[in-house]
């Protein structure tokens, strides 16, 4: 959680207590860093919801509705992450300083996503840093979503409220809608967010053509327009995707059973100097990596490479 003041924290905690059984409540461990100006109260809760969930809702839907409520209705309180077995660390500052501040060196994980940007459309604030998360999903994004106006209204029809003043928010919610609520695979979701062109659909065989036409017709409000490279992750998979005409760079690489996705190859080589394979995914084709524990090892790609 991100709080502007103690009073906001008190208000939010009252609401949370009414809806959840709080097991642990503590400040997020940080260390002082000369370059980071602390402006918010950073807190985390671990809780259970079983007894409070109404019959017709799943636990995930319940948590989503809590997040939407807090973000929209409780002033000065923002939910940075709301998942299980994962954490989101956001701030204003250079990445190395933020990492130092949040004591990232003390965490261990299977999947890491990171992001750094020069805020353009809004003034930089802690809540506006990437990644954006909802439940177990996180999204980091390079680009600008020119279809934001309609993506937001499309999501409102399904109960999502966009309040964080950054266009990336819609990507997280769209991914939650299609992958969790509707149960679509990452590949299919990619085909909704970065749909194939009509001229390509027209040449497909009948069944495929009907499917893709139906997807575009019905989920047109979910099409992401504008340049983008996004990496979506949850606690057992990661997906990288480019917009349909590849207006932002995205590079992927593998070494042994590691998958790397980044805006630039140089970023990958800092972490892994000698990857086995490096390639640039095609526009609109997702690169998906799934943890061994979830399924048998697979690095699922579409296109010629691999």
């Amino acid at each position: 959680m991100l709080y502007d003041s103690d009073l906001d924290k008190k208000n939010a905690e009252e609401y949370i207590k009414d809806h959840y059984e709080i097991i642990e409540s503590e400040p997020i461990p940080t260390r002082k860093n000369p370059h980071i100006k602390e402006v918010h109260i950073l807190w985390r809760y671990f809780f259970e919801a079983k007894t409070y969930i109404p019959e017709d809702m799943s636990e995930e839907d319940f948590v989503v509705s809590t997040v939407m409520f807090i973000n929209e209705k409780i002033n000065g309180a923002f939910v940075m992450s709301s998942g299980k077995n994962m954490g989101v660390f956001k701030g204003v500052g250079f990445p190395e300083d933020i990492a130092d501040f949040y004591r990232i060196d003390e965490y261990k994980g299977y999947i890491w996503t990171a992001h750094n940007r020069f805020p353009t459309n809004t003034v930089g604030w802690w809540g506006g840093a990437h990644p954006f998360g909802i439940l177990d999903w996180t999204v980091v994004h390079n680009g600008e979503i020119s279809s934001y106006g309609i993506n937001r209204r499309f999501l409102e029809a399904y109960g999502y409220k966009c309040t964080l003043m950054t266009d990336t928010e819609v990507v997280a919610y769209l991914v939650d809608l299609f992958m969790r609520r509707f149960g679509y695979s990452p590949q299919l979701t990619a085909k909704i967010l970065a749909a194939p062109l009509w001229k390509d659909i027209d040449l497909m065989p009948e069944e495929e053509r009907k499917l893709y036409t139906a997807l575009r017709m019905n989920y047109g409000g979910a099409l992401l327009n504008g340049p983008f490279a996004i990496i979506v992750a949850n606690n057992n998979m990661m997906m990288g995707l480019n917009d349909r005409i590849k207006l932002r760079p995205l590079v992927a690489a593998t070494k042994d059973d590691f998958l790397y996705i980044a805006s630039e190859e140089s970023a990958i080589r800092v972490v892994c100097p000698e990857p086995d394979e490096v390639w640039a995914p095609k526009a609109g084709d997702p690169v998906v990596g799934v943890l061994k524990s979830a399924r048998k090892t697979q690095v699922v790609l579409e296109g010629e490479n691999g």
Binding site: T122, S146, S147, I150, N218, G226, P227, I245
Partner: protein, 507 residues
């Protein structure tokens, strides 16, 4: 006194140097306004007969003719315009309802002119429509909230949900309903052929279906209006969609009106009414007196067409357009047509045309918002009509929430119409709003189809240019995206109703 006092509204001037006395203007004017004086060897015009259609001006081979508005100068009065005076003079002479044609010509705010569009710069590149694909294909019909899709282990993906019937438009512009009777067969054929060439649709209007239109089935929407002219099971299945006309933007609350002068033999045959009688469509459908009746009719039509065609409902934009539209969607309409106050007509009382209804900009914004709030926006497409003048209007209408637009006046102008507003006389010199065979010859459907198709193609290009400038390459991302619009010089409540921000305000 009893002498006619209404002054001429137009003056036809001739340049004597250029006039070669070819007498073409004398021959062609259907209102008999032009004359040749043999003794003086001069051509002159009886100005009171001129309606200002500019046909003589267009046909003059040497550009000798200029048709000017006659400035009926009275002492400047803000409240009483010359038009008000002329209206009262005519009513004093005739005692009748003033008839007029085409769309509202009042100088009200045209809200489209107070809305501006976005372009991308720096943070988001604009897209070059000449190099990148720019997609404006649109589907009209009922959509689903969720698609059931089966994904197998081996990667095959299958669509399980049955998709409702759709109309496929290559350009989000269609030709609106203009009945055979209000316009000539040549005019309808021009639009039908253009629709077929470009890949969009035209609408038969309430005039029934002449046999010449049957071949255009794949591009035709048939209309069922209150008069039910020519409606049969065969008629319903003759097109690709069926549209129930509840109201029309030019004259909300009243029905269609075809003056007897325009009911000739072929019209009589198609509409099944006697030659020379006025064809008056009743104001309500006499079997639709509540929303349940509308639902009954929609489903009756769906049964008759075996659920293979989208069924739409056309309503006029009035004060309660939002709940009315929501009701129609819940009643089963696959698409809704909202016709605004600027909509055109072949004949309507002037007082209704000018004062009844609301601008389409508000109507589409509130209907789109209301349907979304009720969670039923996906159940029907919204088609917007009423004074769409250029591709910018199309884009603004789509950004406010429409799926597509209908054009009527713009289509007729492409065929030659000069908005002289005398369609109800049935003497249209351009061969559009008439049934007189001497006049309908003048509209060559080959030329008409060419021009109407050109108009749509030109607009398609312009739409692509502007979309590219906004950094969007598919029209799905424009539809309902109010972020691309900003208002200029609008009140706060107007901005709120339209759902747009004022110019200058960023995200």
């Amino acid at each position: 006194m009893a002498k006619r006092k209404v002054p001429p509204e137009f003056v036809v001037e001739r340049d004597d140097y250029k006039c070669i006395r070819c007498l073409a203007c004398v021959r062609v004017c259907s209102y008999g306004a032009n004359f040749y004086d043999e003794n003086a060897n001069r051509v002159y015009t009886e100005n009171t007969k001129c309606v200002g259609c500019h046909f003589c001006e267009a046909i003059c081979p040497t550009e000798a003719i200029t048709v000017r508005k006659n400035d009926f100068d009275i002492r400047p009065l803000a409240h009483w315009t010359p038009e008000h005076l002329i209206g009262i003079m005519k009513q004093a002479e005739t005692g009748g309802v003033l008839l007029t044609s085409m769309g509202n010509d009042r100088p009200y705010f045209s809200y489209f002119d107070r809305i501006v569009l976005n372009a991308s710069q720096v943070t988001n590149p604009s897209i070059d429509p000449l190099r990148e694909p720019m997609e404006i294909r649109t589907y009209i019909g009922r959509k689903e909230e969720k698609l059931e899709i089966e994904e197998d282990e081996d990667g095959t993906v299958k669509l399980k949900t049955e998709i409702a019937p759709q109309l496929k438009l290559e350009v989000p512009v269609m030709f609106t309903a203009m009945s055979y009777g209000s316009i000539s067969l040549n005019a309808i054929l021009s639009l039908a052929r253009a629709a077929r060439t470009v890949g969009t649709f035209f609408n038969t209007g309430e005039g029934g279906l002449p046999k010449e239109l049957r071949e255009f089935k794949d591009n035709m929407i048939v209309q069922v209006a209150s008069g039910r002219f020519g409606v049969s099971a065969d008629y319903l299945n003759a097109g690709s969609a069926v549209e129930i006309k509840i109201g029309q933007g030019a004259k909300p609350g009243i029905g269609g009106h075809l003056p007897g002068e325009k009911v000739t033999e072929p019209i009589s045959e198609t509409r099944m009414i006697p030659v020379g009688t006025d064809a008056l469509s009743p104001a309500p459908h006499h079997d639709i007196y509540s929303i349940e009746d509308l639902r009954q009719l929609i489903y009756a039509i769906k049964e008759a067409t075996r659920y293979e065609k989208p069924v739409g409902v056309k309503i006029a934009a009035v004060h309660n357009v939002a709940p009315i539209a929501a009701g129609a969607v819940r009643a089963g309409a696959d698409y809704i047509v909202i016709d605004g106050i600027r909509g055109g007509t072949g004949a309507a009382p002037k007082i209704t045309r000018d004062h009844v209804g609301i601008p389409i900009e508000f109507a589409v914004a509130v209907v789109d918002q209301r349907l979304r709030e009720e969670g039923i926006r996906h159940m029907a497409s919204i088609v917007v009509a009423g004074g769409i003048r250029n591709s910018a209007d199309v884009i603004k209408a789509i950004a406010l929430g429409a799926d597509a637009v209908y054009i009527g006046t713009a289509a007729l102008i492409s065929l030659g119409c000069h908005l002289c507003q005398t369609c109800y006389l049935g003497k249209c010199n351009w061969g559009i709003a008439t049934q007189d065979p001497k006049l309908t010859k003048r509209l060559n459907p080959e030329i008409g189809a060419r021009r109407a198709a050109n108009l749509l193609r030109a607009w398609a290009h312009e739409i692509k240019e502007i979309l590219g400038g906004m950094g969007i390459n598919a029209i799905e991302s424009l539809r309902g995206n109010r972020e691309v619009l900003r208002g200029v010089g609008l009140h706060e409540y107007e901005l709120k109703l339209l759902g747009i921000k004022p110019a200058g305000e960023a995200w």
